[in-house]
């Protein structure tokens, strides 16, 4: 064994002293030869004879040297290095080809790397907590009733903690916003209310101070808070003594006990948080802890070591059955689901990101096909070189290896350029991406490994076929030929045409996808939301619950604020609403007095909105029937409601709903029968993509919230409106933040930010694919024309008209496109189906798209063939035939 090891070391060592060893051995052979000559001369031979026989007896020195070299060093590595050096030399000799190839590769690999870095950061990278594989979310759902996953209530949480055998720890998490005052302008901060086990469950450490302990979770205990590093460095000025300081949240003093590092976040509900407080200390949710019922507390848990998700799900299923028995009204038929935490985060964006990754992968394939075609063109001009190599004794494998090394060098250079492009791309993407993505996107080691692997894979993709094809020729023919003029036969042209056809097929898929998304996005932007977004500004005012605790206070505040704002010049057309459309919905159950009860286990639901009188006028929502709310609809007068058109049609078909009563409430208020006094037109309140559904409006005075959004229709700019509102609010209470100031059109715009992002990117990729495919066709047709110059010359000499030459060349181009479409269209149909979740008002087999895309491709192909075709038509038969 040691002798083998010594051999290996000696071989590696000899890599560094190659030339010296060569000279040494040459000297040794010389001395051996000299001794042989001496011997021969002693035998009496004349010197020439002695020399000749000595040489024969020793053997050919070149061969001996080669054998010696092979035995001495690492021939595989040495020949690889040699190939690399040669590859760089050859690439330098044809700068045009090299530049185009590297550029194309850089584009393909760069785009892939950039998109992959987003996918990696948001979807693939394991969560930055201890043992993330063990983390799960536990949620409540009733799939039969279409109730989406939601949380539990606090009593359930305690029961689970006590009774389960599968989780080593559990915690509850709910999101809220609280006002943050005492440091400059009052603002709102995003708060995560957590049970005390939260931080130890995740296994994360604070930057300073400590995380929560179980005493912090006791109701009535001292209010403590953990802040984020961003808040510490920002509003608190990186105060070195921040631990122990107090901050004011919702007008209450909280003591800072710890600071979490800037990269810690828990994006289950909101992407980032500024502040964490114990659940018991939250003004809204704290008191809810003792209340039974409701679904407001999402739960997370850590599986015990060795327990699988399936086992945990099985135990939760038994719990569901038991709870269903104990509480048949609420919980019969419910599912307690267990999902890995990773998939619960960032659910929406996954599909879109994978679609983009697929698209950019197709783009790379097209780029590789182009480069393969370029390589094959080069191979033709290097045919003699290959033939000479073969004649000198190179094996086929050796030549293929050399060509693959050239491709690999090209691939690696392109890859490095691509990584550079990716850095720039990631910066651009970060600006374009919808802002609610939790994790920062960086080009880090995982992404770099991906880029490297992709470069090597691409090298094989574009290098293998040309390498194999270049070595497949007849030796004598190649050595005899002068140049490639008379063509190497239709087999080569066919191969290249097939590649071009494949590019067309891939481009078809991309173009179809882009076209569908563009049409979908165009529909989305032109669909009417049901209200007029022009010239409307909005702002959010929230009341801290510790200070404004009762409904009367909220109602009084609303009335006062509205009066003041309406008194401002230019702001007379204002109203309050909670929630505003496109800014969240509150879907609540209702029942109709005097109607047949719904089937057991099913509910009637509608979106609930609390509005002030004049809201419909500000938003220009048509009042179809009855009346708007008025000052007489106060807290003490008879409860009233206004319903939307679709609710009227669904539940009061053919009859007049006015005067009928709906029973509903926003918990925890009791359900009251409310008289329907008006019907308004439908609006799209959830998002532009969702069809309008049933809505019920109640007067703000009869259902106030601890905060409202002001909407103002005014010719003044949004900042002027906001300034006026801020002044008015400050006059009422100087510690109230006015947040989320924007124009209504901006608010609607942000709901389509994601579709816009993916449409723009996919459009960009499709355009690039079209460009590359056009370049591919151009290359292939030019090549074909140059191959067939003699043939065309003969045709023209025999009397063919220019138009028949045109038909000949364009015919070839048409064949490529037709074959490409024949393959591409069915594949595109299939992929379109995968996109259907991303489409709005567009069918996956949209006829317009499937007609427009082939037409566009055909036109592009004709345009790309234009120059070579003209060249073909202009061939002078005399010149063409003269070259033999």
């Amino acid at each position: 064994m040691t002798s083998r090891l010594r051999t290996l070391f000696s071989r590696i060592g000899s890599l560094f002293s190659r030339r010296a060893s060569d000279r040494d051995f040459a000297a040794e052979l010389d001395s051996h030869l000299a001794l042989l000559i001496e011997e021969n001369m002693r035998r009496g031979m004349p010197p020439d004879e002695a020399r000749r026989l000595a040489r024969l007896r020793l053997g050919g020195s070149a061969q001996l040297q080669e054998t010696n070299r092979e035995l001495r060093g690492l021939p595989a590595l040495e020949s690889f290095l040699q190939d690399c050096r040669y590859a760089v030399r050859t690439l330098r000799k044809s700068p045009g080809f090299t530049a185009v190839a590297i550029l194309t590769l850089a584009l393909g690999i760069g785009a892939n790397t950039a998109i992959f870095s987003v996918v990696y950061a948001e979807v693939l990278r394991p969560l930055p907590y201890a043992n993330p594989g063990q983390l799960v979310g536990v949620f409540y759902s009733k799939p039969q009733e279409n109730i989406p996953p939601e949380g539990f209530f606090y009593g359930d949480y305690l029961a689970f903690r006590e009774q389960n055998h599968v989780f080593s720890e559990m915690a509850g998490v709910v999101s809220h916003s609280l006002t943050f005052t005492g440091h400059g302008e009052p603002t709102e901060v995003r708060v995560l209310d957590v049970t005390p086990e939260f931080f130890s469950l995740l296994g994360v450490n604070p930057l300073q101070g400590r995380t929560f302990v179980s005493q912090d979770g006791i109701s009535g205990g001292a209010p403590v808070v953990i802040i984020s590093e961003n808040l510490w460095r920002g509003s608190l000025g990186s105060d070195p003594n921040v631990v122990g300081r107090s901050i004011i949240l919702d007008k209450r003093l909280f003591t800072v006990v710890g600071v979490m590092p800037a990269d810690f976040r828990f994006p289950l509900i909101t992407p980032t948080q500024d502040v964490w407080i114990p659940l018991a200390q939250d003004p809204l949710f704290g008191p809810w802890m003792s209340r039974r019922g409701g679904h407001w507390l999402p739960l997370i848990a850590r599986l015990k070591p060795g327990v699988s998700q399936a086992q945990a799900q099985a135990e939760m299923d038994t719990f569901a059955v038991n709870f269903g028995k104990q509480n048949p009204n609420e919980d019969a038929g419910a599912t307690f689901g267990v999902m890995p935490l990773q998939t619960e985060f960032v659910g929406d964006v996954r599909t879109a990101l994978f679609v983009l990754l697929g698209a950019v992968g197709l783009l790379l394939l097209i780029a590789c096909a182009n480069i393969a075609n370029l390589l094959m063109t080069r191979a033709t001009s290097r045919a003699r070189e290959m033939a000479v190599r073969a004649a000198l004794g190179a094996g086929r494998k050796r030549i293929v290896r050399q060509l693959l090394t050239e491709s690999a060098v090209l691939g690696l250079i392109g890859g490095c350029a691509g990584i550079g492009l990716a850095y720039w791309g990631v910066t651009a993407l970060t600006h374009m991406l919808p802002s609610n993505l939790p994790y920062a996107i960086r080009v880090d080691s995982g992404v770099l490994v991906f880029a490297l692997v992709l470069s090597v894979a691409a090298s094989f993709a574009f290098g293998l076929a040309p390498a194999l094809f270049s070595t497949d020729f007849n030796l004598q023919e190649s050595l005899k030929q002068a140049s490639g003029r008379s063509g190497e036969g239709s087999k080569r042209r066919t191969r290249r045409n097939i590649l071009a056809g494949a590019e067309i097929a891939l481009a078809t898929v991309l173009l179809v996808a882009a076209s569908l998304l563009i049409r979908s996005f165009a529909s989305l932007t032109t669909v009417s939301p049901g209200f007029n977004v022009e010239h409307v500004s909005r702002a959010d005012v929230s009341l801290p619950r510790f200070q404004y605790a009762t409904q009367e206070q909220w109602a009084a505040f609303d009335v006062d604020l509205l009066r003041r704002v309406q008194a401002e010049p230019g702001l007379s057309d204002s109203a309050l609403a909670a929630p505003l459309p496109m800014n969240g919905t509150a879907n609540l159950a209702f029942s109709i007095v005097g109607a047949a009860p719904p089937k057991p286990g099913t509910f009637l639901t509608a979106d609930w909105v609390s509005v002030s009188p004049g809201y419909f006028h500000v938003m220009e929502i048509p009042l179809l029937h009855g009346r708007d709310f008025a000052a007489q609809d106060s807290f003490t007068s008879a409860p009233v409601t206004i319903i939307s058109e679709s609710l009227a049609h669904t539940h009061f078909p053919g009859e007049d709903p006015l005067g009928r009563k709906l029973v509903s409430a926003f918990p925890p208020a009791p359900a009251l029968p409310r008289e329907i006094v008006g019907v308004v037109a439908d609006i799209r309140d959830a998002s532009l993509a969702k069809k309008p559904g049933p809505m019920m409006y109640v007067p703000a005075a009869q259902g106030p919230f601890w905060g409202s959004e002001i909407v103002v229709r005014s010719s003044l700019s949004t900042s002027a409106v906001a300034g006026a509102i801020r002044r008015d609010v400050a006059q009422m209470d100087k510690d109230l933040p006015v947040t989320d100031v924007s124009s209504l059109s901006d608010l609607v715009d942000t709901t389509i930010a994601q579709p816009r992002f993916r449409t723009v990117l996919l459009g960009l990729f499709a355009a690039l694919a079209l460009l590359l495919a056009a370049a591919g066709i151009f290359g292939v047709i030019s090549y074909s024309v140059s191959c067939r110059t003699q043939e065309i010359g003969i045709r023209i000499a025999l009397g063919a008209s220019p138009s028949s030459v045109l038909r000949l060349i364009l015919g070839e181009s048409a064949k490529i496109v037709l074959v490409g479409l024949a393959v591409g269209v069915p594949v595109a149909l299939g992929t379109a189906r995968l996109l259907s979740t991303l489409l709005f008002n567009v069918h996956p087999a949209d006829p317009f798209t499937f007609v427009a895309v082939p037409v566009v491709l055909a036109c592009v192909a004709v345009a790309a063939s234009y120059v070579p075709t003209r060249r073909a038509m202009r061939v002078d038969p005399l010149i063409a035939l003269r070259y033999e």
């Binding site: 002798s3 010594r6 000696s10 040494d24 040794e28 001395s31 051996h32 001794l35 033939a387």
Partner: protein
């Protein structure tokens, strides 16, 4: 007609023959002391009574292998006629290897001898 010749590999010679040559080189060095390449080749030709008329250059393949394994060492020196030549000598490890190989060889040849004798008796 395929334009490509088979790869120029040393494996065309059987490994047994190579191993045997290595053994003979070691034995020669053991018997004769430090010797240069020409001397070793000449000696092997002499001992085999010129039955093994090998290309003398093939000795160098063995010498490289033995050098890499550390069984011989090399040094430039002067030959009888004051000519510069590279001399090879057996190392301790080489001596060890030689006795092990010799033992092995004798054992194999005696077994084969017995088998052959067995066959001849029938």
């Amino acid at each position: 007609m395929t334009p490509f010749k088979p790869e120029n590999k040393l494996d065309d010679k059987s490994d047994i023959l190579q191993g045997t040559l290595d053994l003979m080189v070691l034995k020669t060095l053991d018997a004769m002391g430090p010797l240069h390449g020409y001397g070793i080749a000449r000696r092997i030709e002499q001992i085999s009574e010129d039955a093994l008329q090998i290309n003398q250059g093939t000795i160098y393949a063995s010498l490289v292998r033995l050098l890499q394994r550390g069984w011989i060492s090399s040094e430039w020196g002067a030959s009888e006629n004051n000519r510069k030549a590279k001399f090879y000598s057996l190392t301790k490890a080489g001596k060890h290897q030689l006795s092990a190989e010799t033992e092995n060889w004798e054992r194999i040849s005696s077994i084969i001898g017995r088998v052959m004798a067995l066959a001849a008796r029938r």
